[in-house]
Amino acid sequence: MSLSSRLKGLVNGNTVALLLLIAFLAIIPLTGHRFYMYIATLIMIMGMFAMGYNVLFGYVGLLSFGHGLFFGAGAYSTALFTLKVYSDPLVGVLITVPVALLTSIIVGVLTLKHGKVYFAILTLALSMIFWSALVKLRWLTGGTDGLVGIPKRGVFVDVSGPIVTYYFILAFFAVIMLGLYILNKSRYGLLLRALGANEDRLPFLGYSTFTLRMVALTISGTASALAGSLYAVFYSVVTPDVAYWTFGAEPLIMTLIGGPSYFLGPLIGALIFVPLTTVVARFAEYWMLLLGIALLAVILFFRGGLLGFLESLSRELKLGVYRRWRF
């Protein structure tokens, strides 16, 4: 296949929406409004977390309750590395990649051979062990106080200003989103979707389902860990809360809100969830109750999330647009 036809195959509604979103995020600092930048940064970080999560959940059909482990591993590896080894945020973020690969392999070996229900419980158990270790190993992790003063100024980059931090995170966001999009369109994306559609069939086509699941877990874990790493750079502080299982369930909530069968579903979920939790929580005393009701509504009446609802609507109105937004 020629390069031009490959490029044509990559361009569709998802690419346009993704590029428009990145362009929109890029102009937010020009408004000079710090709060918008703050919300947009959190959307990028949590969007990366949820998009990474959905490689496992939406593509492969594996429910993880322990993704806080990956996010926490990324956040703490960046914090520890920049505080104790080499003070540079760029190297601190990049060091997350081998840490995430190693973490994914360990988690995969321990969890992937035991069926879907046990996978969910085992990932939960592993994340709780990791969280306990972060709390107890005070000499290394700072215990419940966490690690503070994560440097923003280093040899290669200086992200000490809020605008530079913003663009630093946006650059990683753009690279990860485009990487996940290329994965989605590649033969590996097709294999992962096949694994979710009918995993019993794949061995009879010559594929090892364990290997494919491991690949999915590694991609998912690495994207989640990078999100955690950028979270550490953004706040300059990490605490064990980021590895707690309730935090690890947030990408699941975002994915369900946006639509797990759609490439951009988790990111759309983050666009709704992050402002809801940061803005509404300030004013509404019972926001957790509101969130619970919203989740119930999504699961009972809008199983495909917001994009699933829009697809149904477009089918009713015979527009036939949104199906193209699926994986």
């Binding site: 033969r187 097709l190 979707r193 559609a197 009918n198 061995p203 594929y207």
Partner: protein, 231 residues
């Protein structure tokens, strides 16, 4: 020269012996049918050979290798490919994507279009498999199997559930395939069996009760009594 050798294979489900000490060989170039009444153990035997199920006893050899302990994906890579009684595809993917997955596995992505054309599936290429007729799904499953470049293809009830036209079409395709491929066919339709195979193995209650040329099996008293009835 043999391509498949099944040696004293037994498979039990609790106290029920589904396959009981079964042994047979298939020679290269042979097309074999396994027939028998429902519950005879035909599909269980194929499931054990292809490692969808673990055997309790016995050994299986394919193309000179013992495959008894190999996982299914490695058996497939050796060239022992199967289809399923109930169509087993990726229902949310398109016909082309289903075919592409097989092509990718065998390094035969360039062959996908040729196989789609050979099976006359052009008009269904971009349709989701769950929404195409059963006859088309059966052909897609056959197409994915062919893209895996098999040395032997095991077909579990290839014409079950098909209308007369699709049935004829499938027999025509299989008649062509048997010229270049070892086939094992599990089938209840005796017209299809007698039209296609060189040899018939008859099973009942987990055991082989007869094994021979179609004309001999047709006249076999025990087979007539248990399975063929007045045919």
């Amino acid at each position: 020269m043999e391509i498949l050798k099944v040696e004293n294979v037994t498979k039990k489900f609790g106290g029920f012996v589904a396959v009981n000490n079964v042994s047979f060989t298939v020679n290269r170039g042979e097309t074999v049918a396994i027939i028998g009444p429902n519950g005879a153990g035909k599909t269980t035997l194929v499931n054990v050979i292809t490692k969808k199920l673990e055997p309790d006893e016995g050994r299986v050899f394919f193309d000179g290798f013992e495959i008894t302990r190999l996982p299914p994906h490695k058996i497939t890579k050796l060239g022992l490919v199967r289809t399923f009684q109930v169509v087993n595809l990726f229902p949310t993917l398109t016909v082309r994507e289903n075919m592409a997955l097989a092509g990718l596995s065998a390094g035969a992505t360039g062959e996908v279009r040729r196989v789609i054309e050979m099976l006359g599936l052009e008009e269904y290429t971009d349709r989701v498999v769950a929404k195409v007729p059963l006859g088309v799904q059966k052909l897609v499953e056959l197409g994915t199997s062919l893209l895996l470049k098999p040395k032997m293809l095991i077909l579990d009830e290839p014409v079950a559930g098909l209308g007369a036209e699709d049935r004829l079409n499938m027999v025509k395709v299989l008649s062509e395939l048997k010229k270049s491929l070892n086939l094992i066919i599990i089938e209840h339709d005796m017209d299809v069996v007698f039209a296609l195979v060189d040899r018939i193995i008859v099973m009942d209650k987990g055991r082989i009760i007869a094994d021979g040329r179609p004309e001999d099996i047709r006249e076999n008293k025990l087979v007539k009594e248990i399975y063929l009835g007045g045919e």
